[in-house]
Symmetry: C2
Subunit: 362 residues, 2 copies
């Protein structure tokens, strides 16, 4: 992470302080501290001041790492970063402090109040998450590479006949995980889903010892983390010749997914994007079997703003990175989900997960 990028991000947050009616923002949510500073350790906090004299805190384990990753900020070394920075704000007599009420716990707020008893503590209204929904090109580059790693790992798995009858879901998942690490993932994005046969009808199935059989749908939902950014992709295969019902369900989901992707336009309402895919599924008679939203933002977190769903709100902006993942799940028989990670662009979405979505018979 280059410090000029994080400085730009902090400056963007700084411009929000007046609107939040605070003099400084105390950022304690770790992923937000990372976004605003580049720091990747497991304990840190940050003050963003209206006047730009931002201060970073981490503990002694990370002294060297913090010097390297956050060279541009004053660094305080203390274990309890939130309290330490609140005490500093108190000593500086900062009257109004914004804090992250969506992640600070009730006990945590008590601690902040004790440390800064004279200050007014006000919710920062998820200001950083709002910023993070729109990526810069550096973040998109990381996400593009994360998606490429996942694509390559899946290609490796298919090439070595890794998704075959007789193997267990667990074996397939572990092999795919290993291939992602070999291909350079720093982590899996989340616990890999391998769901075969009737299990493929469970949207978030955890791999079991069930053995893949001919005639199964096999649904793989997985991702690679690279530079802290999470790819997210689902592909559903058929083992052996697909039945008519499998061809039908697959075609419905594939068409819905394409409609969803095509609806990713700057200014589109997230509910309309969801509806673009969902209406097709409904018209095909499977509306009740599409039991979740269409997609979600993805980046430093596997699920982040915006939510692309009939329950969501807001419109899409350029450089948002999103999943589009309709599914149809027929209990006891099987299900299909097809998911890509994409970038909203002025001239139409950029596809980051590039593995074929044609019905693939293994």
């Amino acid at each position: 992470m280059q410090t000029e990028h994080t400085a730009v991000r902090r400056d963007r947050l700084r411009t929000q302080l007046a609107g939040l009616e605070v003099d400084a923002a105390l950022i304690t949510r770790l992923v937000n501290v990372r976004y605003l500073t580049g720091f990747t350790g497991s304990n840190a906090a940050l003050i963003v001041y209206a006047d730009g004299t931002d201060v970073f805190c981490t503990d002694g384990r990370y002294r060297t790492q913090a010097s390297a990753q956050v060279p541009d900020l004053e660094r305080v070394i203390e274990r309890n970063c939130a309290r330490t920075l609140a005490e500093r704000l108190h000593a500086e007599k900062v009257p109004r402090i914004g804090y992250e009420s969506h992640t600070v716990t009730v006990d945590g707020l008590d601690e902040l109040r004790t440390a800064a008893p004279n200050a007014t503590l006000t919710s920062a209204q998820q200001a950083v998450e709002g910023q993070r929904a729109v990526k810069d090109e550096g973040e998109i580059d990381l996400l593009r590479e994360a998606c490429a790693i996942a694509d390559r790992a899946l290609a490796d798995l298919i090439e070595r006949d890794g998704i075959g009858a007789g193997r267990s879901e667990l074996e397939v998942g572990r092999e795919l995980d290993g291939l992602m690490l070999q291909r350079g993932a720093e982590e899996r994005s989340f616990e890999t889903i391998v769901a075969s046969g009737p299990n493929s009808a469970v949207p978030h199935h955890r791999p079991t010892a069930r053995t893949l059989e001919r005639g199964d749908f096999v649904k793989l939902d997985f991702g690679a983390r690279h530079g802290g950014h999470h790819s997210d992709m689902t592909r559903t295969f058929v083992l052996g010749q697909p039945g008519d019902w499998q061809r039908e369900v697959y075609a419905v989901v594939l068409a819905a997914q394409r409609l969803g992707r095509e609806a990713l336009r700057v200014g589109a309402d997230v509910r309309d994007v969801d509806a673009a895919a969902r209406n097709h599924v409904k018209a095909a008679g499977y509306g009740d079997q599409f039991s979740h939203g269409l997609g979600h933002g993805v980046g430093l977190e596997i699920h982040e703003a915006p939510t692309v769903s009939y329950l969501g709100a807001g419109t899409l902006a350029e450089r948002m990175t999103l999943t589009v993942e309709p599914g149809v799940y027929l209990e006891g028989r099987g299900g299909v989900r097809i998911e890509d990670t994409l970038v909203v662009r002025a001239d139409g979405p950029e596809l980051l997960t590039r593995t074929s979505k044609d019905l693939t018979v293994l």
Copy 2:
């Protein structure tokens, strides 16, 4: 997870309700819900009532899984579990509700207050974490197996000369991760630490492209997750003939670690356990280079109660599961940490991580 075990756990929590001055506890911390119900999904909440009519909530993705894992409780299917259960408590006119103030956010408490406007909401004082510090034999069996998986993976790695000069920290870490998965880990317990040469002086180093060299200390800190339980082990090796300073530091840490293990007695104060190891390190002149506490509880979380440190408080009880992990870190040169996972037993600690701690030259 057998339901009789989780029922026992809920009954133990139930006995705490009167002392907390509440009529029901609204458990929203996921790991605590898992502990009390056996449910392993990613969204759930639970009410434990004084009268025993406990209610579980998860969302539609987990309907089938919840039927299988939580057959013994009434199950509500809703996405926002905390709010849904708070509304139920409101409808039932439950006057006093305990909630998890250490994990419920400020915004989350606002939502609970809106859902149950007439109730008194009181902190549950980490009641479930307190219970969880003392394991039952079923949990210890899971942790024992998690530790055995990690032992076997490390043995595999050594047998295939995986920790050799010329390999990068990242390669070694990925191979060890893969071996843990092959040996049956459902996950790594945490991001594997491979720290070589001067990097071994960084207590929580993340693996880099640095190549292992002859003369290096190589510190591996890693673990396997099994049945939700996390093993945690550190071993430090030397590549090629160790220098005198390496033999000395290793011997100091090894002796301190043994003293720490031997201090794991029922009723021991955690500060005394820490001191048993630390005093030896201090006497050897390395007190300032042992910059962290001696250990921590481990189980459904990689770090949980109790904290075994000069900053900790409390005494050990039978069937607590703990790490003992002293370290000495010489900046710019290298460091040694040796860590085991153990069970406190009436007749002395049971060692779960069984890989040799003799100075091993690779």
